[in-house]
Amino acid sequence: MGAYIIRRILISIPVLLGITLIGFVALRAAPGDPLLASVNQEVLGNLLSHPEVLEAERHRLGFDQPIFPNQYVTWLGNVLRGDLGYSITSHRPIIQEIGTRIPQTLFLMLTALSLAIAVGIPVGVLTAVRQYSKMDYGLNALAIFLASTPVFVLGLIAIYVFAVNLHWLPTSQLHTSGRDDIPDALVHLILPASVLAIVNAAPLVRYSRASMLDVLSSEYVTTARSKGLSSRVVILRHALRNGLIPIITLVALLIPEAVAGAVITEQIFAWNGMGQLAVKAASARDPSLMMGIILIVGTAVLFANLLADIGYAVADPRVRYDRAR
């Protein structure tokens, strides 16, 4: 297993380089001048009337160099030294921009995903075990309804009901004005985390149910039952473990989201996380900031894939990864 993990990590390095290279070239080659985009439209002329200033700025930022290899190699060298550069719109180091957002995103997303997993998988298993019961029909209908409802609709309904009408919870953001304590943050977390958890739990219910039904109809489960094992033992010890394998893939795919943030949810709840940062970087054509985000999210995707592979091995001992064996 150890050698397998090391081999996977080594394979991930060129993949990550490929991701950053494609991202870098695409961003630099995209239409639109990032320098002009960083200037207020109303006063653009002040800059445009001095093209020499614009050129000097372009030179200072290295935008006048060939994209590959010059600009990319320079960027990569800086990254290896821990320098992701500066945002051309906020003029702050990218590390600082991302560093202040990741904790908020992790706080929201890990809570929401944990809730989604804690609710979605057991409910999926339960509906599979009680197939065609009233509970199965009811929970399935609810899961389909929630899975097909856009997150912004749920978010706005939640804000309207619980914040605007009932005044039970705050509408948005991480903190109340003038407060920065953890209890206050937890209160602010309830609405966005619940909405995200619901949205993510719904497909987990559907996948878990389908996977469990598949496993429950397999021959080895029938054999286990015919041996006289109790339903509880058959489901928990024999069926659930195999039934979880496809769910691991689904959960692994959700992990990068924990880093990348939920764009729409963060927007609705004014949650100052990575999702909002990515939107701002894209709309402002801030190439260094976008590359920083690509690097972090790309790493998260590769890490999640690695976790998924390890998860398969843990869930199913038949899976053999190590060539030496």
Binding site: P31, D33, A37, N46, L48, S90, S172, I268, N272
Partner: protein, 557 residues
């Protein structure tokens, strides 16, 4: 399992701590923000302390998270700068009357060339260093030495100081700056300008602390701690200090105790939020905000029934206009389009009446009797179109920013009017970067929708759009060969009274006839505020200047 749950709880707790820490970096030397809630137990005194007043503010518009004048380009920055710094003079809510700011008095020579200022003796920076004429000289000299560093709003009035053009790239002081003593200065302009005092009341003209920035280079002006509004590192002479650094989501400002002007602000803390309009509207409805400037007018009816909120629906100082690519259009075509657009109908049916009709001259100008009002006349429009050189087989390409709701609502209606005229109108909606590229670098467009500005404050506010070289002189407005308006604005600035009025009249008629752009209407702005705001609370017509008299405001927590 129990251990796993504990581990999960610990991870969530750690991230929550990190979030709290990230949200409020503890700045060295910063005034600690007052707690918002009364302590749960008050052992020494039976009565709980009064809640500190935290004014929660949002202005729905763009923002650049910087405070140095080189990057000061949005109204949100201007409002913050007005709280932390002082200009030499300020302006009252009538946008005309000048008020003391760092200078307690001033004089102007009859020819509007020599200005003297007497600074308040007691003026000090947040760190206790006296604010003197040296700071004024430093501010003006640095601007003249580094004029190209200003990427957003220009500081044209500082560049009018005599000799300013000769110190660019040096460390010399313009000859027009004369220190009389620590608190008195004489400023001589290179040419007369009767609007000088009003112009330097703008936020971008705030006085900088020499003792903090004396070694600052132009490149450093974008990234230094002071420049980014880092709490504890941004001393000002204004009534507030940043106690939570500027970020993309706003800043927190706390009132100084023992402010040198003799009166402390009655509002202890201002939580200034930069956020989406939908978030602000929801927070208003839930009682989480006290003042929102520029609420989308369509939200007005929905917020009207929220207890404790008041509304102010007023004409803004900005303008909605069609800018023309003058290389692709001629005067007859522009006039034809002006006649073809039924502006009263647009305002009534598309904008729900929430705009004020404009007569195609900049809104800061007087509406002279002989100004052509271009009242809707489709026959005359078609006649003019025939006289123009426009090839009717070509599409008229009308461009606008895709993400701006001001355009997405109006562009199709404008397209319809222009098609009724006989033009083939092609709408091009683009995001910011490609839009800028299209307008500034190509000739592949005929018209562009524009919105905003502050032309309504005064006629002089329009000069920046006609400066030569200036805003897109190659395409927007008039081409280089016809660069005729800048000098006329300068000439009007140099005189006062009837002489000025005569020049402005001529300028207005020229703009009205040539139509480098069609000024269509001034959109109304909706401001919503809590009834707990009182005292001298007022929103200026140019709402970007509304904090200039914050010391007079009161707020009942």
């Amino acid at each position: 399992m129990r251990r796993q749950l504990l581990t999960l709880a610990a991870v969530v707790g750690l991230i929550a701590s990190a979030c709290s820490a990230a949200a409020t970096p503890a700045p060295p030397g910063a005034t600690p923000a007052a707690p918002s809630a009364a302590p749960s137990a008050a052992p020494a005194t039976p009565a709980a302390p009064a809640r500190p007043s935290v004014l929660r503010v949002a202005r729905i518009s763009d923002f650049l998270p910087s405070i140095h004048p080189v990057e000061l380009g949005t109204g949100n920055q201007e409002l913050m700068a007005d709280l932390v710094f002082n200009r030499l003079v300020d302006v009252d809510k009538d946008e005309v009357t000048l008020l003391p700011s760092l200078a307690e008095s001033w004089t102007a020579s009859p020819d509007a060339t020599v200005y003297t200022f007497k600074l308040f003796d007691k003026a000090v920076w947040s760190d206790g260093i006296p604010a003197t004429v040296d700071d004024v000289i430093f501010t003006i000299a640095w601007s003249a030495q580094n004029p190209d560093a200003f990427k957003q709003l220009g500081i044209g009035s500082w560049l009018k100081v005599k000799g300013a053009d000769k110190v660019k790239g040096t460390t010399n002081i313009p000859e027009g700056l004369k220190k009389i003593d620590d608190h008195n200065i004489e400023i001589t302009l290179g040419s007369p300008d009767a609007t000088f005092l009003r112009r330097i009341a703008g936020a971008v003209y705030y006085i900088l602390p020499q003792h903090v920035l004396k070694d600052l280079t132009a490149a450093q002006a974008e990234t230094c701690d002071f420049c980014l509004g880092v709490a504890g590192k941004t001393p000002g002479t204004g009534p507030y200090d940043f106690t939570k650094s500027i970020s993309a989501t706003g800043a927190t400002l706390t009132a100084k105790k023992g402010y040198w002007k003799g009166t402390d602000s009655k509002i202890e803390t201002i939580d200034y939020k930069i956020q989406e309009s939908s978030v602000s509207v929801a927070q208003l409805a839930a009682g989480e905000l006290d003042l929102v400037i520029r609420v989308p007018p369509a939200e007005g009816p929905g917020l009207a029934n929220v207890p404790g909120l008041k509304q102010l629906n007023v004409p803004g100082v900005g303008i909605f206009a069609i800018d023309f690519n003058n290389k692709n259009t001629d005067k007859a075509l522009r006039q034809a389009i002006a006649y073809a657009i039924n502006r009263p109908e647009m305002i009534a049916k598309v904008l729900g009446g929430r705009a004020t009709l404009n007569y195609t001259i900049p809104p800061g100008f007087k509406v002279y009797d002989d100004v052509n009002k271009y009242e809707f006349n489709i026959d005359k429009a078609k006649e003019l179109l025939k006289q123009s050189k426009w090839d009717l087989s070509k599409p008229f390409r009308l461009s606008y920013l895709a993400e701006d709701p001001n355009f997405t609502v109006t562009a199709p209606a404008l397209q319809q009017y222009m098609q009724d005229l006989g033009l083939k109108v092609e709408l091009t909606a683009l995001p910011t970067a490609p839009y800028s590229d299209l307008i500034q670098k190509t000739n592949d467009w005929e018209g562009a929708l524009s919105f905003g500005g502050s032309e309504g404050v005064g006629w002089y506010q329009s000069q920046q759009y006609y400066s030569c070289p200036g805003l897109g002189t190659a395409q927007l407005k008039l081409s280089d060969a016809e660069c005729i308006y800048d000098a006329q604005f300068d000439a009007a600035s140099a005189v006062t009274g009837d002489a000025q009025d005569a020049l402005l009249h001529k300028l207005a008629l020229s703009l009205n006839d040539n139509l480098p752009e069609i000024y269509l209407w001034q959109p109304n702005y909706l401001h919503v505020y809590s009834d707990r705001l009182g005292g001298g609370f007022a929103i200026y017509p140019n709402e970007r200047e509304s904090f200039k008299k914050i010391l007079d405001w009161t707020y009942a927590p």
